[in-house]
């Protein structure tokens, strides 16, 4: 028996503080796998945000800077400009990136900073008790919208991946989900692609990952997972919204040329 699934090297072997069914753990793993794939762990500097993702430094085996609420892209800008050889990513929730940090993310993206932003969208402020976030769905009940989000009063959820894709500085923008194995495999590919943009110095890359918050939504983890596939993907469609570097697929390696009259290996061994 051979082990076919194991913990990525970039992820420390410690239990997480996340609630049961919270997909932060899954997204952490995908990010760590991408780091392992490109071999950038030794020169990676992560920028953590405020929210449930705040304990990033305890889980990733990389250097981490803790940013004030919403300011992770601004801090990441400074880190990347001061140490251009480092690999810089931010990991932010929707209350952090889409609410208090809107100015920072939009201007960092528009400047085309060479950083990668992982945005985890669970349509609520999970850590502080499930308040309404800019990404909360219309009609969704939260602790600050007990009758459901009202479109006339509170507006509609922000689609950050589409919004940022319109900016000139953005090189790559995609939305992924990790609710089913198929979506998860696709998410892995997109996160690796976003990392590749920075590894090759091709500019700002942005990943929006749809996630659950069973505790704040008040449902079981399995129901929460089903909500992503039903309600959320309808409003937040998955896919790439901008992909400026069209990498050509690698050509297959040339087939070994058969030498006429050459002996096969067993024949060769018999000859000598």
């Amino acid at each position: 028996m051979q082990q076919v699934f194991q913990r990525p090297v970039s992820l420390k072997d410690v239990p997480t503080h996340f609630c049961p069914g919270c997909q932060h753990g899954t997204i952490h793993r995908l990010v760590a796998e991408a780091m392992d794939e490109f071999g950038v762990r030794e020169r990676t500097i992560g920028v953590a945000s405020v929210g449930c993702s705040v304990f990033l430094y305890g889980y990733f085996d990389v250097d981490v800077v803790e940013a004030p609420h919403g300011r992770a892209p601004a801090v990441a800008t400074g880190v990347k400009r001061a140490r251009p050889d480092s690999f810089v990513f931010t990991y932010q929730g929707d209350g952090d990136l889409a609410a208090i940090g809107t100015a920072e993310i939009i201007h960092a993206a528009n400047r085309g900073e060479d950083i990668t932003v992982i945005f985890v969208n669970n349509t609520t402020y999970g850590m502080t008790g499930g308040q309404m976030a800019p990404t909360t769905m219309v009609g969704q009940k939260t602790s600050t919208s007990p009758y459901g989000r009202d479109h006339a009063k509170d507006g509609s959820p922000i689609r950050m991946a589409e919004l940022l894709a319109q900016l000139g500085g953005v090189a790559f923008s995609a939305r992924v989900a990790v609710n089913t194995p198929k979506n998860l495999m696709d998410a892995r590919k997109q996160i690796k692609k976003a990392f590749r943009y920075q590894v090759e110095g091709k500019g700002f890359s942005f990943i929006e990952a749809l996630s659950t918050c069973p505790t704040a939504w008040g449902v079981t983890p399995i129901q929460a997972n089903e909500r992503i596939g039903g309600e959320m993907i309808d409003y937040f469609p998955l896919g790439q919204f901008k992909d400026t570097a069209q990498w050509k697929p690698q050509p297959p390696p040339p087939a070994p040329v058969e030498q006429p009259g050459a002996l096969s290996f067993p024949e060769f061994m018999n000859e000598i």
Binding site: M1, Q2, Q3, V4, F5, Q6, R7, L11, P15, T16, F18, C19, P20, G21, C22, Q23, H24, G25, T26, R29, V178, T180, P181, L184, M185, P214, T220, P221, I222, N225
Partner: protein
């Protein structure tokens, strides 16, 4: 064939692995682990194909997968 090992001290009993297994070999037990959750256990282990989809969906990396090569 395959084999999975579920780390009971890490499992939080969310049950996402039970939805991933298309052979329905994983279920939640009623016994409580050190974290206070009801962890996942495997039944009919000999039917496991080692596809690792349960481990892919596990947010807590509690599942290790082995497979015959």
């Amino acid at each position: 064939m395959g084999r999975i090992e579920i780390d009971e001290t890490r499992c939080k009993g969310c049950g996402l692995c039970t939805t991933a297994c298309h052979l329905k070999l994983i279920s939640l037990t009623r016994e409580i682990n050190v974290l206070g959750f009801t962890p996942a256990v495997t039944t009919n282990r000999e039917r496991c194909t080692g596809c690792a989809l349960c481990a892919q969906l596990c947010p807590d990396l509690a599942i290790t997968v082995f497979k015959d090569k």
